[in-house]
C-alpha cells in the first residue's frame, strides 16, 4: 500500500537550486511529469510555504512542503537531496532560518489513509543516521531501498 506512494523515479539527488521555492518546483517535477499533480500544485505549494513554512531543524535540515488536496491527482511523495543547502523558514516559526538538505514533497489527498507513510517520514527525519544516508546517497535507488525498509 504505502510503498506505492514513493517511486524510485520520484527521487532526485544532488539537486541544484537557488532557493526554497526552486527546491519545491524541482521536487514537484517528476510528479507533474507523471500526472500525479495539477500544474497549479507548484504555485500553490510555494504560496503555502510562504505563509506556513515547513522547514524542520532536524540533525540534517528537512522540509516537508505540501498543499491542498485539490491539486493532487494521484497521491505521491517525491524526494530531493540538495547539493547545497537552501534556507527554508521554520515550521510554526517563519522568522527562523533553517538550512535544508533534504526535501520531502507530499502530494496527499487523504491523510488518514496515508497516516502510515506520513509516520514513516517522521520516523526517518528523527533518525540522524538515516538522514545522513539519504543525504549522502549516490543514486535514487539507494534512497528508495532505504525508505522501503521502513514502510
Amino acid at each position: 500500500m504505502a510503498s506505492s506512494l514513493l517511486q524510485e523515479d520520484h527521487i532526485q539527488i544532488n539537486g541544484i537550486v537557488r532557493d526554497q521555492f526552486e527546491a519545491i518546483a524541482l521536487a514537484a517535477e517528476p510528479l507533474l511529469r507523471d500526472g500525479s499533480i495539477t500544474e497549479d500544485f507548484i504555485e500553490a505549494a510555494v504560496e503555502r510555504e510562504r505563509v506556513f513554512p515547513t522547514g524542520l531543524p532536524t540533525k540534517i535540515g528537512v522540509a516537508l512542503p505540501h498543499t491542498e488536496a485539490k491539486y493532487v491527482l494521484k497521491e505521491s511523495i517525491s524526494i530531493v537531496t540538495l547539493k547545497n543547502t537552501v534556507v527554508f523558514a521554520g515550521m510554526g516559526n517563519p522568522k527562523e532560518s533553517i538550512p535544508v538538505n533534504i526535501v520531502f514533497l507530499l502530494a496527499i489527498q487523504d491523510p488518514q489513509k496515508q497516516l502510515g507513510v506520513l509516520q514513516t517520514i517522521v520516523t526517518i527525519i528523527q533518525n540522524e543516521k538515516v538522514l545522513h544516508k539519504i543525504k549522502d546517497a549516490k543514486d535514487p535507488k539507494t534512497i528508495y531501498n532505504l525508505i522501503k525498509t521502513f514502510l
Binding site: 506556513f52 515547513t54 524542520l56 515550521m91 507530499l106 491523510p111 497516516l115 506520513l118 527525519i125
Partner: protein, 94 residues
Amino acid sequence: MKLILVACGTALATSTVVARKIEQIAQENGIECKTVQAKAVDAIKKYEELHPDAIVCTCQLEGEINVPLINGRAFLTGINIKSTTDQLLEILKK
C-alpha cells in the same frame, strides 16, 4: 474526556501525525482524549466552537486564545519531545 485541537497549515499532513501522537500519549497514560484537526485559518473559529482543553499547532496562530497553546513541532522532529509531552500531559491530567 479531553479535547485537543490540532492545527496546521492545511490540516492535511503534519496535524494528522501530531494528532495520532497525542492520542497515543493519552492512551498510554490511561486518559480519554479526542483530537480535532483544523486548518490554521479555521483554527480560531473551531476553538470558539469546540472549547478544547488546549491547542497543539505546527503553525503560527493569531487570535485570542485562552487555553494553553503548545508548539507540536517536537512530535515531528523528536527534538525536546519530552518537554512537549510533559506540557501536554499536564493539561491532559488536569
